[in-house]
Symmetry: C2
Subunit: 822 residues, 2 copies
Amino acid sequence: MAEISATPFLWPDRSPHPLSAEALASVDAWWRAANYLSVGQIYLLDNPLLRQPLTRDHIKPRLLGHWGTTPGLNFLYAHLNRAIQERSISTLYVTGPGHGGPGMVANAYLDGTYSEIYSGVDQSEQGVKALFRQFSFPGGIPSHASPETPGSIHEGGELGYALSHAYGAAFDNPDLLVAAVVGDGEAETGPLATSWHSNKFIDPLQDGVVLPILHLNGYKIANPTVLARIPEEELLDLMRGYGHKPYIVAGGFDGEDPLLVHQRMAETLDEVLNEIAAIKARALAGDTERPRWPMIILRTPKGWTCPPVIDGVQVVDSWRSHQVPLSNARDTEAHTRLLEEWLASYRPEELFDADGAPAAQVSALAPVGDLRMSANPVSNGGLLRRALKLPDFKKYGVEVPSPGATTDEATKVLGTWLADVIRDNPDNFRIFGPDETASNRLAPAVYAATDKQWNAEFHEGDTNLARAGRVMEMLSEHQCQGWLEGYLLTGRHGLFNCYEAFIHIVDSMFNQHAKWLKVTREIPWRRSISSLNYLLSSHVWRQDHNGFSHQDPGFIDHVVNKSADVVRVYLPFDANTLLATYNHCLRSVDYVNVVVAGKQPAPNWLTMDQAVAHCKRGLGIFDWAGTEKFGTSPDVVLAAAGEVPTLEVLAAAAILREWLPDLAVRVVNVVDLMRLQSEADHPHGLSDNEFDAIFTADKPIVFAYHGYPWLIHRLTYKRNGHGNLHARGYKENGTTTTPFDMVMLNDLDRYHLVMDVIDRVPGLGARAALLRQEMQDARLRARTYTRDHGEDIPAVTEWVWDADGVGVTPDNAGVSTGGDNV
Amino acid sequence: MAEISATPFLWPDRSPHPLSAEALASVDAWWRAANYLSVGQIYLLDNPLLRQPLTRDHIKPRLLGHWGTTPGLNFLYAHLNRAIQERSISTLYVTGPGHGGPGMVANAYLDGTYSEIYSGVDQSEQGVKALFRQFSFPGGIPSHASPETPGSIHEGGELGYALSHAYGAAFDNPDLLVAAVVGDGEAETGPLATSWHSNKFIDPLQDGVVLPILHLNGYKIANPTVLARIPEEELLDLMRGYGHKPYIVAGGFDGEDPLLVHQRMAETLDEVLNEIAAIKARALAGDTERPRWPMIILRTPKGWTCPPVIDGVQVVDSWRSHQVPLSNARDTEAHTRLLEEWLASYRPEELFDADGAPAAQVSALAPVGDLRMSANPVSNGGLLRRALKLPDFKKYGVEVPSPGATTDEATKVLGTWLADVIRDNPDNFRIFGPDETASNRLAPAVYAATDKQWNAEFHEGDTNLARAGRVMEMLSEHQCQGWLEGYLLTGRHGLFNCYEAFIHIVDSMFNQHAKWLKVTREIPWRRSISSLNYLLSSHVWRQDHNGFSHQDPGFIDHVVNKSADVVRVYLPFDANTLLATYNHCLRSVDYVNVVVAGKQPAPNWLTMDQAVAHCKRGLGIFDWAGTEKFGTSPDVVLAAAGEVPTLEVLAAAAILREWLPDLAVRVVNVVDLMRLQSEADHPHGLSDNEFDAIFTADKPIVFAYHGYPWLIHRLTYKRNGHGNLHARGYKENGTTTTPFDMVMLNDLDRYHLVMDVIDRVPGLGARAALLRQEMQDARLRARTYTRDHGEDIPAVTEWVWDADGVGVTPDNAGVSTGGDNV
């Protein structure tokens, strides 16, 4: 278990009281300055401090960006600054609302972080101008919070993940406060709606604190929000039902003086922070009851402080303030004037000094150094990342006296190593999964080393549940992915284990994370973070009893669409190759590693030394399985990528060796799928010469692949041998089968592979024709057997690779040896 | 608005009272029979009615399936039967828990539906044997509720969509009750967590009633569930916060007599149904307050009625009963005996008559005919589907005096037609979208015809919101997709409009629906349902201000992985082609149609007649844009698929025509992407001859494509011309730009296309070399301009197609005409 800090959150109690006049003025000045800078980013190209009368030439030709949510985000930032100053709380600010980008940038600029990172945007009038110009401008920054924004671990692109990210950041950061703003639009998304339940998975001792702030500004793009349009008591019930103690701060409507709202907010924030301190203290004193963590509902008008009515229609407190309230500011003189008044309403002359730097009253609110939310090192997790202490994975390997001589459940073996990874890294490595860690067989080993973290009720007889543990399970793939992302982005390590078919649930989350990784590669101050590692099991070839809806190997296709700099796909095919692969994944940074592996008992093919060498190459020739003569060219290449394809290719090779011993068969296995691509397209790609050396440039290639077969074509279409390549893989057939029956249904079976070879190698003669017939017969026998018996034919289930190079077919029930037939 | 039935749900009040002894016996007999048949499906190959002592040979060799959730589903089915009999309520039973398959099948068998549909599974001992054998058996049925299960619109594959589907079924079905069982595991998923809010979107007059039943059986695969481990008051708060009035039925723990639980359930169900009737009556009387619809929390032990303890460990009321409680029933004599006792505990001798048919006491509980939940026609929506009345889309077309002579927002034009579709089909067509219907510009026309349906609070100034309306908007793509699926599966029509990048959020839901469609094609009794239509706008080439996170055209790739029988992809490029495309989509059945279209002002290229002809062919040669001579072969093919690619290809063609008038350029446009595939791979696929006739077999093809370019290679890799094909499309570059700047960043611009042609057509000479240089210069000028001015260069924004066949470049600011330079 993680070492517990002695004094987490033991802030001196500060009874809620009104802000002093000075403090109030400072908070308000910050807020006005942030609002001013936000409006400026959206509209201005020049005249940044409004020191001349505003003209159309000062205004951007294309007005882009989002105002509506911004004043609320700025408001919270100002108040949190005040609290951080008083209490020195290390605070991360996560903002869910999608398009508060100008606000996040404005606050980072005001507290100095922005200029420290981007020297071209200094604290001067020219700096303000640069700040404005770059926003949503060609070559500049996006209109939402993005990797370029200091302090952010959370893009404003796709909504729904603010709380999951916040909790991911809080795990194992006992002294961290994560203020997580949830937009009321975002709150309607599914992932956000379930992420409130994260509070049953956080430990008050070991972990930090998430303070959710539901920002109820009432409107989305073109609609009211649901949570703003239910009775307040219903909303409070909902928050209580989610396990929180809700506090409401409301104000700013109908022109209410913001100073009054500041007082309300400050008082509530003090009360809430005191309560958090009390919860932490109770936990330290041994109280194990799940706390009802406080949360804040902030109800303010959307677009707060912009012109309330424009062209006769309501804009403030309406969806009309969502984006750019004055869309004709450049082309309509009346709107130019309105914009000028709007900007002037923040009294910029008070907010910036003669040089254009933030005035002292504003700057005074910024906390010092790393306490500035935009400078918090947890938001640039690579700064804090410590490499994992990884036990020597080779010691966990299984004995393989000869290929296929032993059988193991690959993920179960991996679990023994992961258990020690957990033991050696008690505070910065976690395993995430939607109730499938045991089903995917990382248990029992992993649960000998740790428990599942759980802070809901315990019942007698519960197993492997504890208030603190390294395994995080909730039946929401979104939650698992979001937690893990937050954990990685703040400098830690982990993996997500999931059923292969259901990982599509997080397709779009993967997209966002892959894009984040891609962009951060170009941002020098963003430090490398640990890779996002998937472990996909219960894979497509083992969905024999669940049925068609559990069959989909397409996540790989989805992943391969993303930048080659970022994505890696591995298909280890036995216990030792899985260990070698995962050892590599847990050491890597800045990638998304997709690993698909088997969990059912299956033959081990490679010794650990062989596995290490094979995985290092990423692909290779199984010379022990082929029949080519040294120094000559093979007649045909039988290639496999994936657990089941490897088995079938080897079984096919065994059949060919028995029947057609003079046929020079080369057996190739691909464990790193990206090796197939051209080196021009992917850093792992083989050169054409290397590719030809393995696959030949002119011989038939029969390729058995784990997923949809066209991916193999896509990855190899520039290769010399592509015209000779025949790929088999998963097809959408849809039925319930036994495992081998499913392989047959997809024509990925050994019999088809043998027939493929026969059909593609010219001049094989009569014996090959006989073998072809035998393959058809054997296939029919196998199919009939499953339908009669409900399990696969012994010829297949009992088939083992013969170390002498001959496949053994027990009882001759499957494939005739052919000896008597010719 | 839909016509309101005069007497929806006006059941006679039936004061809750204890069941009579006879009714109680009947409910209990049904429940025992359903449980017996469920256990039998999981375990038995033979001896179906336990009329001989059970031996290992009677037991399946592979034990697959899920017991845990099944007794609860059977319990509810029995009780709903009783209520349906008394009240004649048309009821659909939606079961969220993933693996209650054996239960659903058992109930359909008991009420006779199963045997009516599957004659091989009749109501006899042999029928029971067949029923048991097929379950999770090769060639049989999956272990979860699936399309093969009568009464189901809802697969048990992936969890999270029970309530969305239920509400989708209830819309515009004012007399329908949808009893929707939510598993407590499922309740942890994001989509389910937000779908409770559906109750703010249903109208008590126009729509039916959803009765959510949260089945709190406490455990998932290997964990307790969150909602079962919070204090009851917190759970009640949560349900109240979701806007429901919760009722709790709990029992069956520690061996409590089920008869007592039956009484409790019956009483609560009566009370709840009375309350629903009262709500309906109040609504009819004019009450417009949003009702707090009742919902039921059913708390029973997981695995209820199986052996409570096996091998010394707790099984009932534990995750251990999730799947197959007696996994060694065939191989361990003690377990065989335990299984026999378990089966016998249901007293099968009372439940089946001598022939093996359900005993009268059991059958007596089945409602009559279509009132049987498994026979409800809404669960086989094609039975009820009425074709849409579609106004003649051609009348809504825009004038196109010559290509590019007019400009329109394509989706806005589509909106004018959709408005009349809505007017003409007031009760069976809806538009779904996550707050983007206006942004995607179907407004304002659509809102002249209807409103957004909304039953949360109304505020003064709200626009286009009403208690009943044809547009459904909630900021959850899951919800939109789930509602639409439920609506389609029950026989209606609709479309889902969404931003292109964010449609990946429903990747896995699309998967499930596509699989459903594929399987139902093979099930004769399942009738055709309307296609699932996507309208994706705010597409990848128009994400200029949002930034990288909004850029992803990969949904098409995801879709194309699914069965060719089911998926269609269309890329209409102007207003008239979009109208023609959507007219086709709304007439079609059993497909998923993905349509990507522009919403920004863009040139119209085809007259309506041309658009109709072009869309009918799916692709074609723009002879007005090319320079080939009739009867000769072109030198090069410039092909486009998508709005922006079409524009760029035409601009490139114009430049080529000006500079290299002797070069025979063919311009091809593809609107139906599946036409590219081989006819062997897709029903829309061109024959090779047809393909060659359009693309040539040997000339260079420069293909500008909307999405990731490799899809074009994948679709065409078997074609003769594939070796000559060069595809350009979207690349993961990641920046903020103006529209054309983004096109340039991806090298899809006109200048690159011209250079591609020059690089691929041999022997073009000095003028081509000069043009190449000019293209590089023009490109640089355009790029510099955007960075200086924040908008695209006039040479591009003001470019128009010259009807005389020459591109006009205003002010010579963009591309020199070349006239003076050579």
